[in-house]
Symmetry: C2
Subunit: 244 residues, 2 copies
């Protein structure tokens, strides 16, 4: 069965969408038939992959996967009705069953599934965590992102009771060259040890430019520092997940 990876963090702007899009593109480059599920009503993963956000529904209405600008990468877009499913964390409704069935179906025709989540604690990330087999938590190398990590891990732990929870890893993102990033990185590695991926994503303007062309870094600026880091982290993750 294909790994189902939820990429989530309630802190905003830490690189969730950028991570989903670029992991998918490098996994596709490696020959894996890859699916991105955009479960953020902002629909940023949808547009970053060159797809016009559409009225075609979402994973919750069993929208069909569509081709994207990245080779071997398909997308279930974020439809406008997705926001209606953003009920508070404790109040997840019947949608979890619908999501489970949709994802199980899709696992038959893809080799990797990545789910982009919105920056909050609603049923959208909660359901993604409950159907996921793996979790990647992007943590921007800045103070607020560090602060929010314990809140997120407490929410993930809470889910443990109701599901065999996925294996989780932390990906350090937007690492600037200064002392702040170094101290955040040292703190995260001290606390979380092997849970933290060895590859760190550097802050790189190209990562912010690529989505404005509807392309992953691989197709926009494949030799830039962030592209090389996402290539390396894709290899690191695939080998961690492959050995299961």
């Amino acid at each position: 069965m294909a790994p189902v990876v939820a990429v989530t963090n309630q802190k905003g702007g830490v690189g969730k969408t950028t991570t989903v899009v670029n992991l998918a593109a490098y996994a596709g480059l490696g020959g894996l038939r890859t699916l991105v599920i955009d479960s953020d009503p902002q629909a940023n993963a949808t547009s970053a992959l060159g797809v016009l956000p559409s009225a075609a529904g979402s994973i919750y209405t069993h929208a069909e996967p569509m081709a994207t600008s990245a080779e071997n990468v398909w997308l279930v877009p974020a439809g406008p009705e997705l926001a209606e499913h953003a009920r508070p964390w404790h109040d997840a409704g019947h949608e979890l069953r619908a999501l489970h069935m949709a994802v199980q179906q899709l696992q038959n025709s893809f080799e990797l599934i990545l789910i982009d989540c919105p920056p909050n604690f609603t049923a959208l990330p909660r359901n993604a965590l409950l159907v996921a087999t793996q979790v990647v938590i992007p943590v921007q190398c800045e103070y607020f992102a560090l602060e929010g990590l314990s809140q997120l891990l407490a929410h993930i732990e809470e889910l443990h009771g109701s599901a065999p929870l996925a294996d989780w890893q932390i990906l350090l993102t937007m690492a600037s060259p200064g002392a702040l990033a170094r101290s955040v990185i040292a703190e995260v590695r001290r606390h979380f040890g092997d849970r933290v991926l060895s590859v760190e994503i550097p802050r790189d303007e190209a990562a912010a430019v690529a989505p404005s062309h509807g392309r992953a870094l691989l197709d926009h600026d494949p030799l830039c520092p962030a592209a090389l880091a996402y290539l390396a982290v894709t290899r690191e993750l695939l080998s961690r997940w492959g050995s299961k």
Copy 2:
């Protein structure tokens, strides 16, 4: 009556908290008795002002304003129960009345009130928008933030029906020196003209370091580029609001 300013944008990581904290600090420096209401369960404004996020409740439970690390700036912190009020946008409950009453009460003892919002479309930003007399929309000078703007403005327009909606302005934030920021800035100014504040906040590492010391830029690095920009934008906003 004191202006009540909602600082909001559903896009994550665009500088909402940084804007609230630094506008408050410079308004306090100018002698205005200023209140920050942290209505984001992440409680970043609370910790950026040197206050330990507390179990003392939130604006919805009429928590008392407390002193902060910034002179003339008080804070109603984000308590853990705030997340329970994050129901979907259309489903705002009885809390709006409670918020209205609490804010009206506080307007008697403060000269400026700033409300920090979480990155979503829930009842938290919706209620803040309905009690606000002014709205500041931080827009990061990158592609995704630009994309989300029309969604946000559509939500604000929708509220028009149920309230004499506040005056809104766009603040351009994290403007890097490259071509991407220049093209985003040009597009925003072309579309929104006078709604866009003339001061732009530059990307400046000091803005990311200050919160790790629980201090506003004014108290951390008052001569850095972002501090000078926040000083200038505070003057621009106070003169726009003062002339009402």
